[in-house]
Symmetry: D2
Subunit: 431 residues, 4 copies
């Protein structure tokens, strides 16, 4: 097993003041190229088009999750009912640091179109021929596999797994605070130190001391606010719709034999399904943005226009769209109207709703895998959080939707289209 | 002249809380593609390798400078001795917003190697065939030229020029606060609202009400701290040395007829000296990072290695290096020793000193162009700041150096080199 | 009417950065002795015994409410549908500044025991022979009366009244932020600038632009958190119980003809019901604390002990106490047990529940006087907030209780009492 | 020796987030009545008349100093060259917590007039018949004496003494951050965690790792700014002048046999020189403010007026006053002029200069007792800070003065005085 650094290293961090590294293992993981690559993947994808401050990377966030994990373990280690081996301590820290290592560029849209899965890539990077793997293997031969299990939630020790993946884990705590900080909003702030103080190991769970009920309630409310105020922001979703359509168009063009002036060679393994780790690692956001800039000069008009829109932030407008109420025929007619004036509805009429995004505001017991948050009552009983908190109860188990229909208003108003059809479209969109 | 927006727009900003836009002109400038491109140029270049939080863009900063200018003008407009036309108000706001529009990727290193000049490109973008120019021209035909003059400091109204370019201007005030915020350091913080309150228009100058002396002193000290603690950080400079050498190697390879597997086509106009605005605009940091990733697979070993170093953050180490004390012969001998063990000293032995960087901590009267800061005393006299403040006096007019010699320690220790020579090198470097 | 100050005055304020004063009227009100007296009345009464940072005064808060009102009016004045006379502008500012002018020392306990009413005293101070009244009268003869009406909610313009007294008014906005800041908790924070931006005058109401729903929801949740985490904190309530009993004991002693060594002469007019404004003004917290220190040397043991407890922070402990479930006979038996071991239950056994305190977390329509918060929807309709927000809906109209029984555990454990009875008491209290 | 608490206690603190208490000793000290009394003594005396936020108490600050000391010892304990016994650890923590225990109300003015000395009272409280003493004695019989030595700087271990009393000690670090926080100014902020990281025990000193030079420089500059912007603020000094004169008048009246309607009995032992600890403890700021309010109704016009001025914040105005330049005769003439129009110059004409206040911005080696700050250089040498920092060098060893002459402008302008003399006074004061 690797030892301690001669001298503690620190990273200046705006959220946690300092990130402290004392283990050689952690230091080496941070310096592995697959981890450094996270500097070239933004934490919030396209959110920066709405919140210009949100330009921070997953590197940034990953250090933060590690730091919170370090503090949790340090707190727990003072308790008599918590015993952890040195290997498991390193396991927790490594898993916290590496939990996002498999993320690709603009993950949400990318995965949707190309059917990649960042969790699968995380497993491959941890266990494949990588620098990260080589560093982990220095602990023990099966250590990379154990880290993969921790992140994949199959590691036998449920208590440790829940520190990185649960309704109240190091990952979420960090991203709420961090995304709040960088966007400049206050919605995601909560009292981290208080929450860490009331977290207790209890059998195979992490539970909350009952005196901390309001602190955790505040954390859940912060989460809810961040989803609606930041993560699901309509302008961000407009950029997301465009990005998704760019990817889809590229795939379509490739499949239909279009000859690219600027061949997106790094995307090819995606199409052929032969992508290696090496190739995946090279696919960062700089690459996507570079290609987008190349594509903005392609012959294909749709691709060219969408790329310009994304780069120059000429986004789609939106109107309310109740997917359930609307009948499919009306939607089809709208598409026909778009087509009739030369606007391809496959790329210029997009429905988006936040439930497409990983929405998991706390719902008690809804899904098997989702462990509820328990309060440890003075009498030693456990009580599920939403039974104690009216606020959590109100949010729990309710899926909220915010369906919107996105389209290029500027096209409709550029004066080059059949005015009668444009008017009909506007009438139907109520604009 | 363009009018007001129907409804004020705001940007959520972590530093100023909100950036307020009420003029159609400003709104349109922000949406121009040349301005949106600033999202793809980082404010602090390579500083993010040291301070992971410093991933913010020049877009971010430019909005902030605009906002400070807006507040200054709003304060001034309440004073009887300040009269400004509507055109000049827009001029100040536009100049504040666009002052960095000509910046290229990783400007410091880029300009040093390729001899481009961001100030020149600013002028070209403002007055050439661009969206920014088209928007500005809607105010009046000579408005783009006036904005260029404001930024170029040749506009006749010295008072207005000094709001954007002086020892205490909107640009500096914003970057100190913003770079502090994103790095997570507190060194650059000062009381912006107090400084804005004590700024007064006075004849053709902006002066400081004497009661604000300590507030301005604090601002100057904040600036000094940021230079030494952040901007000139040795680890950042190590990355800068590597980046410079990457650029130099690319230029060298091109000039020596090397055949690139991955031709950096967007760099070609740099070599031929024929770069158009369109081509310059396309040269953002995504492009440079993408090329770097391509170059990391080139046949040329030096280029390949340097690119890997930069991307994976395997930086050079450094030792003290007193340029004046050292005699040139010793340096030559050191280079020869490097060459003797197969390490090209042109790319692997770099001297860097902060005075190479635009260091301009306040020096009264040293350079003609640099207007001193004046305090307006109770008796109506003006008194130069460093005559009142011992701290400013201490910093003024003194150039400090921090010469360092950068080199790849890992090469020396990789066990493949002639040990006698390695030992001799180490002896000379005192490591 | 009084004019503008020659030069704007500012107060450095931790919450709003600066409080800006431009009107001579406001400047003179701040300098009136009745307003300066608010420096000697703490904003949060006894909360400082729990949160040592909460030592701020009502002077502090009153300036903040004024500043928020100033900003609201400044925002509104840019809207075409808002017209306000200069007198009404001054009226709003004065009412905001003076809304707490009638508060006495440790109001909650004080008013409960002595049956004074700070609202009534506010009216007397505004309209009686005071410096504040003299300053107000310089605007117009009926101006003091109008300010009194604004604060008393009887002023005809409901829109203006609601700016200072409603579910989302300048008073609450300031105290949430301010009490958060001084206690050092983050629970009360919300995005003030955003809330101010979405507040709109609409007929005789202030409504919320629908896009601001989540911002207001966050404000309501902040309020809820502050009540449970700060204002109703059990330790604070323990101090409050003791304080109340001190006041009650003093009244009792006076009424029963006890001869005080240190006669609390400033309390006498309270007993006789003849208190003048002058006498009320003199009754600040310094006076109460001084008397308490004197009383801690009185012959009466109960008074002496309670005063020592309060000053030296030897508070009562508490147990759960379900007032409804408990039968009165059990309570009487407990009192008898206390009495049997020489502990006077009237002063040493106190039930406290937060609903005794002014609890008014938003409840739609429950009480006639409480105007609901309306959202202004895109179609121009008004929609009551709790119909749009599940969180507000969850909190609305539900009174929560936290009944506790407070008692001196140290007395039970001092070893001087009949152990059998002590054990029986402990058994009944479940301790 | 006392042990650990069963469960760690925390105090929510705005500056350090939480103050952590694990030792029974510390918990008991905090609950001692002499320590609780510090809640009734403000940290910044009269500063609250200028900065309304500065209402925090010495209780508040004392907890902060303790917390910083706790962190320093926790950092040091990880170093091999630092060995400390359990008793000495408790000694450091106790001394940090109790260092201000002897402070009286409004110490600066109080001590000046009544010739008390808070350091002497600290010794008496620690070693006399007090609750604090009783708690300390439970560690060992000579423990109270050792704490007294630590605070009095006579304890043999110089290293430990310097943690609480040196140019860079826990006391100063806390008050800069705390006073900044409560005043709402940013001037006193510095990077506490970085400073704590670079502090190293070294032989009998605490030294600074050379890489921390700029962090310490920033701390020194913060200190300098706080002195000039907050502690020596001219408005605060005006209140201080009035307060001093109130005390002086009371003493004078007592000495001249004046018969007080409201006898200030708690001041009597001051006059007779017989004050007991018990009596001193009772003399808090509530008492002084209560007396002041009583005195504002005395027959003596001077006392009455001064008390009204202080309570209602009708302060003296000031003009520049160069004590050295002025000749004593001119001052005497001015006094005569004041006297001639019935204004007693002994109470209404006050010279104040910050050097009267405890001014100790870093001066290297000027006074024997003041240990310089040393940097630990890479070669193991120690280098005095001002030799490395131009900013510290600029501030070092230079006493700055800001002499002002304070007087009641309102008296001169009340229209009841001989106008010729008033004009002559104004001419001499240049107003």
């Amino acid at each position: 097993m690797m030892g301690r650094l001669q001298e503690e290293k620190v990273f200046k961090d705006p959220v946690h003041r300092y990130v402290h590294v004392r283990d050689t293992l952690i230091w080496n993981l941070i310096n592995a190229r697959e981890f450094q690559r996270l500097r070239r993947i933004r934490q919030l994808g396209t959110s920066y088009v709405t919140f210009h401050g949100a330009e921070h990377s997953r590197f940034n966030h990953s250090l933060g999750v590690y730091e919170i994990m370090r503090r949790i373990l340090s707190n727990f280690s003072r308790r008599s009912n918590f015993v952890i081996t040195e290997e498991e301590r390193l396991l927790c820290l490594s898993a916290a640091l590496l939990h996002d290592i498999g993320h690709g560029p603009f993950s949400h849209s990318f995965e949707k179109v190309f059917h990649t899965d960042h969790e699968e890539w995380t497993q491959r990077i941890l266990t494949g021929n990588t620098q990260v793997n080589a560093v982990l293997r220095r602990v023990s031969d099966d250590f990379p596999e154990k880290v993969a299990q921790m992140i994949g939630k199959t590691y036998p020790n449920k208590l440790l797994v829940s520190l990185i993946s649960s309704q109240i884990d190091a990952d979420r705590m960090d991203y709420l605070l961090r995304d709040s900080y960088y966007t400049g909003t206050s919605y995601g702030s909560f009292d981290l130190e208080r929450v860490l103080r009331v977290l207790k190991p209890y059998e195979d769970k992490v539970v909350i001391k009952h005196t901390g009920m309001h602190a955790v309630e505040d954390y859940i409310a912060a989460r809810y606010q961040m989803y609606w105020q930041v993560y699901f922001h309509r302008v961000t979703r407009s950029a997301e719709v465009i990005l998704r359509n760019i990817f889809a168009r590229v795939r379509y063009l490739h499949e239909s034999g279009y000859s690219f002036v600027h061949n997106p060679k790094r995307f090819m393994p995606l199409f052929s399904g032969t992508m290696t780790i090496e190739e995946y690692i090279a696919l960062d956001e700089a690459t996507v943005l570079y290609y987008m800039s190349e594509w903005s000069e392609e012959a294909d008009e749709v691709l060219r226009d969408l790329c310009h829109r994304f780069m120059d932030r000429r986004l789609f407008k939106y109107v309310e769209h109740d997917e359930n109420a609307d009948n499919p025929q009306e939607m089809q007619e709208l598409k026909n109207l778009f087509a009739a004036i030369g606007i391809d509805p496959d790329y210029y009429l997009g429905v988006d709703s936040p439930s497409d995004l990983p929405y998991d505001v706390y719902r008690s017991g809804e899904e098997g895998e989702r462990t509820p948050i328990y309060l440890l009552m003075p009498d030693g009983d456990l009580k599920e959080l939403s039974r104690c908190s009216v606020i959590v109860e109100a949010i729990s188990g309710k899926r909220r939707y915010d369906h919107k229909l996105y389209f290029p208003l500027d096209f409709l108003e550029d004066g080059t289209r059949d005015q009668a059809i444009v008017q009909e479209i506007k009438r139907r969109l109520c604009i």
